[in-house]
């Protein structure tokens, strides 16, 4: 069948069972948009800014097991998409981004709306392609989806010159791809696996530390099974929350800079640390030299060899897919005789419980002023702990992570690696489209939400009844906190002046806006949002305590055991 390049692109999307493309049209993608128009299988979501298109596709991917797809025009369309692409890259999210390019003959001529998209995005994609020949489109698309979802997932960009999208050729979608240069390992090395299991079973102070890799591998079930089988304490990184049920006794909370005392102490003083799909980020282990002072054996399971022994020396590296590797560990333990030493484990738990007794997550609530932690707790109650929660970046992000207990994976969507303010609402849009029957709430701050506030319009057009919980402290709170603690209280440019009336703003876009000033009104407002206005977008503008800080905290350069637990520790 002979088709145009543009028609081939859309056919490929159909073959990949893509339901939604998030995008924004322009000159270089006119043929692509024309082809989209003439079919009904792939639906297009018109955002108001290309950054939001990529974030929304990313949110769609994070909340499902699917590849997110975005489409942008050349030049400014592509540059606007870059932040979104880099955000997805840093958290290993599978995406395909299709960008228009000027015609092949115009490339390099400083043509109108020409930028070197492949060059600009090269450092923040898993891979990218410039398609110079219409006959290469189908195989390139097939490769793009394959690369995005296999191995360590990531965004893949396909740049298509306008003339290539117009030219015609015979179309057939390849059934398979093979790339001699790309063969990610999935099964763990059996010798290493045996060593790991033995080490784990002999441990006296074992700790399980897991991250985004568990969520990406859809291996929460395996992780839960293994952890219960062993009876060991476990922590999930910010990206790994929901990988293990947070309501379970074995769960110690999040590790790292704003993690719990017990998780950090147990990480630090463990004698065997099983790291699964987590990359020893600087916000997790603090000062690596301090972390290395305590001798412990580390087993590290990761599909990307370059994640292993990058920041800490690993004793038993296992390159492979989390799901396969955990399945094999479970099989080996179940079929063997050896079990963890009950006495050692009991005394280790006794120690862990003592750390937990410090109750580092307790905060001082108030009857007069709304505490952000209280809002998140109420959000948890009102949604039965079973909503998809997205977040932006700042203090509110940490409070959401700390106080909304995630029991299931793919319920917590946030930008961990790049820390991109402005992801919250687009993530919620993508998540809501992917999960129309699930409640979706975006916990944000008054600064972050303004980075993509224009998407309130998209939400109206596509009837996306998400709930925006704005923890409004009239400050770039996270910046203010650092200035308070480390810059002598000089609040340089961290005050958010001239804020809009968010409730009215939401109303202007055709949504429901509610301003909440008193602690006593928090629950009621939330209930209203999720029941009375179930089918509406509700913007809840919570006026919270301006001075509240995020604790516990490991300051930059400090070790995991050197935590500030509360303001009193200062």
């Amino acid at each position: 069948m002979v088709l145009s390049g543009a028609e081939i692109v859309i056919r490929c999307l159909q073959e990949e069972k893509v339901e939604y493309v998030f995008g924004y049209p322009g000159g270089a993608v006119l043929f692509l948009y024309d082809a989209l128009f003439q079919q009904e299988k792939v639906r297009h979501v018109l955002v108001r800014h290309e950054q939001a298109a990529v974030h929304a596709a990313d949110g769609f991917a994070r909340s499902t097991e699917k590849v997110g797809v975005a489409m942008v025009t050349s030049g400014p369309g592509a540059t606007n998409a870059v932040t979104g692409i880099a955000t997805a890259y840093c958290d290993s999210i599978p995406m395909v981004i299709i960008s228009g390019q000027v015609p092949v003959a115009a490339i390099g001529q400083d043509a109108f709306q020409e930028v070197d998209t492949v060059g600009i995005t090269r450092p923040c994609v898993k891979h990218n392609f410039l398609v110079r020949d219409v006959r290469d489109i189908a195989t390139t698309m097939k490769k793009a989806f394959h690369l995005a979802r296999t191995g360590r997932p990531g965004p893949v960009l396909v740049d298509i010159p306008k003339d290539v999208s117009m030219q015609r050729c015979e179309y057939e979608y390849p059934k398979e791809v093979s790339m001699r240069s790309y063969n990610p390992v999935t099964k763990g090395h059996s010798g290493q696996l045996k060593k790991a299991v033995q080490l784990l079973l002999e441990a006296k102070r074992p700790m399980i530390y897991t991250g985004g890799g568990v969520v990406l591998a859809n291996a929460a079930e395996q992780l839960t099974k293994l952890t219960r089988l062993l009876g060991y304490p476990i922590t999930n990184t910010l990206m790994g929350l929901g990988g293990y049920p947070s309501s379970d006794r074995q769960f110690l909370g999040m590790p790292g800079m704003h993690g719990t005392f017990e998780a950090n102490m147990a990480m630090h003083y463990s004698d065997v640390l099983l790291a699964v799909g987590a990359r020893f980020d600087d916000r997790v282990i603090g000062n690596p030299a301090h972390f290395a002072e305590e001798p412990r054996k580390i087993i590290h399971v990761d599909i990307d060899p370059s994640s292993i022994s990058k920041r800490v020396r690993v004793d038993v590296p296992i390159v492979g897919d989390v799901k396969d590797v955990l399945d094999e560990m479970i099989r080996q333990i179940e079929s063997g005789e050896a079990r963890p030493n009950p006495d050692a484990l009991a005394s280790w738990w006794k120690q862990v419980e003592q750390w937990r007794e410090r109750k580092c997550m307790v905060y001082k609530n108030s009857d007069e002023i709304i505490k952000p932690q209280f809002v998140v707790q109420k959000l948890w109650e009102v949604t039965g702990g079973d909503a998809i929660i997205t977040s932006d970046v700042g203090q509110h992000q940490m409070w959401a992570a700390q106080y909304y207990g995630f029991d299931k994976p793919r319920r917590w969507l946030n930008s961990g690696g790049l820390g991109t303010m402005g992801v919250g609402m687009p993530y919620a849009m993508g998540a809501k489209l992917a999960n129309p029957d699930m409640p979706v709430a975006c916990v944000t701050g008054e600064a972050s939400i303004q980075m993509n506030i224009q998407e309130l319009s998209t939400c109206k057009q596509f009837r996306l009844p998400i709930k925006i919980c704005n923890l409004n402290n009239r400050y770039l709170g996270m910046v203010r906190q650092w200035q308070e603690l480390f810059h002598g209280g000089r609040y340089s440019e961290s005050y958010m002046d001239s804020l809009p009336d968010f409730a009215k703003l939401a109303e202007a876009y055709g949504h429901v806006g509610i301003r909440v000033d008193r602690p006593g009104d928090v629950e009621g407002a939330l209930r209203e949002a999720f029941t009375t206005y179930k089918n509406e977008l509700v913007f809840l503008d919570f006026q919270i305590d301006q001075t509240e800080n995020v604790y516990p905290m490991v300051q930059g350069g400090k070790g995991l055991t050197e935590m500030i637990l509360s303001a009193e520790d200062l």
Partner: protein, 163 residues
């Protein structure tokens, strides 16, 4: 420590910038980088000379392997290997310097491949040390320009880098 890394990479446009971009983005050193297609035109072979601690070299090889177009990577300096570099030197050659340069070239087994009444172009291959020594042996005032290819490397004996 100095390492010589050899790799095979798909012969696609932009492949080189993926490699050089990786080095600059992650702050790795490149002392030299050479690249040309192999006997199989769909693939290029690159030799990269770099320096770094063991941890850094481990990361470099892992990161290179991670590039989608890279087919194979080896650190050939981990075992017996050969290194060769080509250098062309244009020297001022007049009067008694003409004989002197010719003699020095002979000692180094270099060849004079271009002659004018005022200059020679000398071609020399060898490892980096030999090339450096040749430069050292010539009066700097006579050197008009030099161009070096960067190191090409290959493992000795049974060690073969092939798909």
């Amino acid at each position: 420590m100095r390492h010589v890394i050899s790799l095979l990479i798909e012969n696609e446009s932009g492949a080189l910038s993926r490699v050089s971009g990786l080095f600059s983005a992650r702050g790795y050193n490149i002392e030299s980088l050479t690249v040309a297609p192999t006997e199989d035109f769909s693939m290029s072979r690159m030799t990269i000379v770099t320096t770094g601690s063991d941890e850094i070299i481990e990361q470099i090889t892992k990161q290179l392997n991670k590039l989608v177009e890279v087919v194979k990577v080896v650190d050939i300096s981990e075992a017996a290997h050969l290194e060769r570099e080509l250098m062309l030197v244009k020297v001022r050659a007049t009067g008694k310097d003409r004989e002197e340069i010719k003699r020095t070239a002979d000692i180094f087994r270099a060849r004079i491949i271009d002659v004018t009444d005022a200059s020679y172009v000398v071609e020399l291959t060898g490892n980096q040390g030999k090339l450096d020594a040749f430069i050292g042996a010539i009066d700097p005032a006579l050197i008009l320009e030099t161009v070096r290819s960067g190191v090409c490397g290959i493992g000795r004996g049974d060690r073969v880098l092939k798909v």
